[in-house]
Every structure is written in C-alpha cells, then in structure tokens.
C-alpha cells in the first residue's frame, strides 16, 4: 500500500446536484494503488489544511480518480472553482478501504448524503452481489443512485421528507432487509448518528458491519494524531487515527459516543 502526492490534471468536472460536484483527474499511479473506501486529501488553494475527500471511483485502465464532493465551506468552495485544464494537488490513496471477503455473496451498502460517494467504488466491484440503500434529505439532494443501478446494485432510495422513495431513515429498510433476506456484510458511510443506528441494527441481526468515519485531519497519513476516533479492542479504549487506522472500521470497535 503506498500513496502519492502530486498535481494531477482535472479532465472532467460536473455539477451533479445542488452544491455537489463530480471531478475526475488523470492520476495513473494513485489510480493503480486505490481501493474502494480509501480517500484523498485535496489542497484547497489558499488554505493551510488539505480537505479529505473519498475516492468515489477509480479506473486502473484509464488511470483516473473521481471525487464527488459537496461545497460545505470556503475550502471545498475553492476546490469547486477549479476547472478542466487546472491541476488538482492530491495526496492519495490514503487509509484502509472496505475489505469484502470473496465469500460474501450479499453485501448491503448503506450511504447517507455525502457519505454515498465512497460506496460507489464498492458497487462497481461487487456488481449484483450488492444492494444499496441510499438516504438523502430530499429529492434535490439525490446523487449517484442511477450509477449504483448501472453497476448492478439493487438500489433503494430513502428521503427524510418522503419526496422520493422510502419516507424515513435508512435503518428501517436496512432492518427489514436483514430480517427478511439477511446479508453477509453491511458497509456504511454517512453522518455519525446514522452510522451508530446502522451499527445497532447490524448487531441485533448479528451481521458484520464496517463503517467509514469522519474526523478533522491534519497530515492525512498518520503522523499528527489529530483525527481521533475512540475505539475499543480487547476491552481497552484508545484513540485510533481515522486517516491511517481507518477511515473504515469494524463497527464493533467504534465507540460512537466517545
């Protein structure tokens, strides 16, 4: 596992919903090394800290990496102003992605909002072995659902306001699916309360669950220990590094209220 840091040309940029952009860069070395669930840190012109953004898709044959991100504050806004022809300063691929055993025949991907992008690379890999349950605030926020379908994932959409698909939280369809058909593994990414709820549902149904965590970062490579996530192993609590030990953790090891 190794990472690279360089300036890579942007080859495509699209606005895919309100304040959300898809950006593809030509970065053959990182693309070759990347795995689903890993992330990059992207330099935001004029800012001290690089922004952590998940690798949404990668193509080893085309040598490309794709990011899908929402403009949240000034840094992501600065990145969103870059265009094809400009270079993106990227450190990638970082962290541990989702590891799915070959024996897993049914994997449920649960994403919330801007937590959806890293799951797409997994859907691409797993094809019809995957089921996607994607939650959004309302219809205007829906992203990437058609692309999950395209890769063969059986895809369900939930919205908080019921404007499209299932009205309510992702945990209800997840719980029903686990009870009715079961699964070998659940992989989730989204806001912390959602991940906590998903972890509970999985524990109740005795299904292994991997969650991708977020934390503010400094170095992105394990050096500064600012990106802590409280974890427990062998009964002992300690702070893991989201960037290096994660971002994907076994849900059983994460102390969500820590």
């Amino acid at each position: 596992m190794s990472y690279y840091c360089d300036r890579y040309p942007i080859i495509e940029k699209k606005s895919i919903s309100k304040d959300t952009f898809s950006m593809t860069i030509y970065a053959p070395e990182p693309a070759k090394a990347a795995h689903a669930g890993q992330f990059a840190t992207i330099s935001a012109p004029g800012f001290t800290l690089r922004r952590p953004i998940s690798i949404c898709e990668f193509s080893r044959s085309k040598g490309t990496l794709r990011f899908v991100f929402e403009v949240r504050g000034k840094g992501t806004e600065a990145i969103s102003l870059l265009n094809p022809g400009d270079n993106l300063d990227v450190l990638a691929p970082l962290g541990n992605g989702f590891t799915v055993p070959d024996t897993a025949r049914r994997v449920i991907l649960v994403g919330g909002g801007i937590g959806v992008p890293p799951l797409l690379a997994l859907a691409k890999k797993l094809g019809d072995r995957s089921t996607a349950i994607l939650g959004f605030r309302d219809y205007s926020r829906i992203i990437l659902a058609d692309e999950f379908e395209k890769y063969g994932a059986n895809t369900a959409i939930c919205t908080d306001d019921g404007s499209v698909g299932y009205h309510g939280l992702v945990t209800e369809p997840l719980s029903n699916t686990l009870k009715n058909v079961g699964a070998d593994l659940v992989c989730a990414c989204g806001p912390m309360p959602m991940l906590n709820a998903i972890a509970k549902v999985c524990a109740e149904n005795d299904v292994p669950c991997k969650v991708s965590m977020e934390q503010r970062m400094g170095c992105g490579v394990g050096a500064c220990v600012v990106c802590s996530c409280l974890t427990v192993r062998n009964g002992q609590e300690y702070y893991s590094r989201v960037c290096k030990d994660g971002p994907v953790f076994d849900a059983k090891e994460v102390k969500f209220n820590g």
């Binding site: 190794s2 990472y3 690279y4 840091c5 330099s43 800012f47 001290t48 800290l49 690089r50 840094g75 300063d89 450190l91 934390q215 503010r216 970062m217 400094g218 170095c219 992105g220 490579v221 394990g222 050096a223 500064c224 220990v225 600012v226 990106c227 802590s228 996530c229 609590e237 300690y238 702070y239 290096k244 820590g258």
Partner: protein, 303 residues
C-alpha cells in the same frame, strides 16, 4: 551541490531542515514520498514516561494562514518508542531527536534516564506544550520552572540537550538565559501560541479542549522576532521554527539567528515542503557563493 551541513552541540546534521515534533510521527509516515534520510533530522512525537491517551477530538481547527491543535501529547510512552520506533529511525534517518514531556520533574528525569543509553542523538525538552492540564507549558512560563527542569534533566542524561521554549511568555529571553545557565546545549523555539476558535452557529469552540496551540505561517513573524531576541541573549545555538514553509522563510529564520530550522504545519499543506526548502537552500547557497550556512546565521543588519 552546496554543503548544507550544520552542527549543534557536536551533532552533525547533513542539512538544517528538521521535521517538527508532533507533525511527523516517529518518521514512519512520509516514506512513501521520500526517504527519511533526505531530512537533516526528525524531532519525534512528544513522549512521556507512561503512554498518554490524548484529548477528546476534534483536535484541529483551521485559522487564517494556520491551524490550532489540541492533541494533548497522545503517545505510546518512552519505552514503546524505544522498542517500536527507534530501531527503524536509527537505520533510516539522520539526527534523531527525542521530544520529551512530563507532568512532574520526576517524569522528565525518568524519561531522560530511559533514553540515555539509546540510539537517540539528542533530547528536546518540551516545557512548552499548551495542551495538557498538568505540566507541559507550566514549566516553561517561569524562569524558575524552566531552570529546575533543565537542571534535573541535565543531571540525568549525557545526551545533548535542547530546551524547547514557549512563546506564551512576556519575555522569552529571560527563559532562554535561565535554561542556558542550567546547562542546555541548545534552545528550540517557538512552540505554539495559545488560541481559540468558535463555531458561530453552534456557539461551541471548534476544539473540544476549547483552546489549542496556533502554528503555521500566521505565527512566522512572531517566531522570527523571538529567535532574533534570543540570539542576542544567549550563546548556545538556536533551532528556529514557527510557520516556516519556504526556503526564503528558512533563510529569514537563519538571518534572525537560527542555526537549524524545524518545519511542522507546512508539511500538512504540502508534504513535499521540507524537500523543497532543502533544494531551495542549496540553490541559494550556490547562487550566492555561500560555503557554509553558519555564514548567514544571525547576520540580519538591524537598524
């Protein structure tokens, strides 16, 4: 190729660029990009005699041209460092500096004694960490405190001793003189400046620790000023740091009085920045016919 080497307390650095404590792990994290041997040295993550869990996150906030951090010295303890990291560091790195912190004088002594017969090249006494409740900066803000820790550690180890100073004091030169008098071989400065940021929507501080240490380009002029003042107050060599991100910054810091420099926050912005500084210094020396960096240390011409 210019000769970039510098010497501090008898220890030779192949070049003057050292990774700053707390921003470079124990040298293991950036080797995918370039070997550790490219740097003059590395100051390892601040270590305490017992492992420390560190503060509750979030531990970092961005500021104009800088960051605040409140890590709180999370580390695996001096013995963990010696067993787990030191062998590789010795093999792959140049000068290895152990950054040592403690709550009590006895903690500092125990850590220094444990490191005394190891492959560590130098000890950097951190009496300036603003992020721990007990100890840390409380030692560094008075002459008596700084002197007493320096004296005790000086007696506990034969390793060259650097004392790292906090900028959160009224007059840094008095502290510098106090640690020089107790046998410090070198001083390094500055550690971070205490700061705070608040999320105006939630009315919550961004750092869970409420306050944290400011570093990065924002603090650079403060660091240059303090290095210059200390250069005029003590005879021991100075390692300058605080906001250095380019080779021009490094030259400026040396003109103010630094023999070597450390870089921290700049590495977060661009992990290649220490290498760029080394290359920039090399070109600067070649272009200006400078044979040794000692020719520029302290050579500012003040009004």
């Amino acid at each position: 190729m210019a000769d970039l080497s510098v010497k501090i307390a008898g220890v030779e650095f192949p070049n003057p660029v050292i990774a700053a404590s707390g921003t470079y792990g124990n040298g293991e994290c950036f080797t995918d990009l370039y070997p550790l041997s490219r740097l003059g040295g590395v100051s390892c993550k601040g270590m305490t005699i017992e492992p420390k869990m560190g503060n509750i996150p979030p531990r970092i906030a961005e500021t104009p041209s800088g960051i605040l951090n409140s890590v709180g010295l999370q580390n695996i303890g001096v013995h963990g460092f010696i067993d787990y990291y030191l062998p590789t560091l010795k093999e792959e790195g140049n000068v290895i500096i152990a950054n040592v912190a403690g709550a009590t004088i006895d903690d500092y002594i125990a850590a220094a004694e444990a490191l005394d017969n190891t492959d560590v090249d130098m000890i950097e006494l951190n009496i300036s960490c603003p992020n721990v409740k007990a100890g840390g900066a409380t030692w560094g803000v008075t002459c008596e405190g700084a002197a007493s820790v320096t004296k005790a550690v000086r007696a506990a180890t034969s390793k060259p001793l650097i004392v790292k100073l906090t900028p959160n004091v009224t007059n840094i030169t008095e502290i510098a003189k106090a640690v020089e008098a107790e046998g410090a071989d070198s001083i390094s400065l500055i550690n971070t400046l205490l700061g705070m940021r608040i999320d105006i929507r939630t009315k919550r501080p961004i750092l869970h620790n409420n306050v944290g240490g400011l570093s990065g380009p924002a603090v650079f002029p403060v660091a240059v000023r303090m290095v210059w003042q200390c250069y005029n107050a003590v005879k021991i060599p100075i390692i300058g740091m605080g906001g250095i991100s380019t080779w021009e910054d490094a030259v400026e810091m040396m003109l103010a009085g630094a023999t070597a420099i450390q870089m921290g926050t700049a590495i977060f912005t661009d992990p290649w920045s220490p290498i760029k500084v080394i290359e920039g210094l090399n070109d600067y020396m070649d272009k200006n016919g400078i044979k040794s960096l000692s020719e520029i240390t302290g050579q500012v011409k003040p009004y």
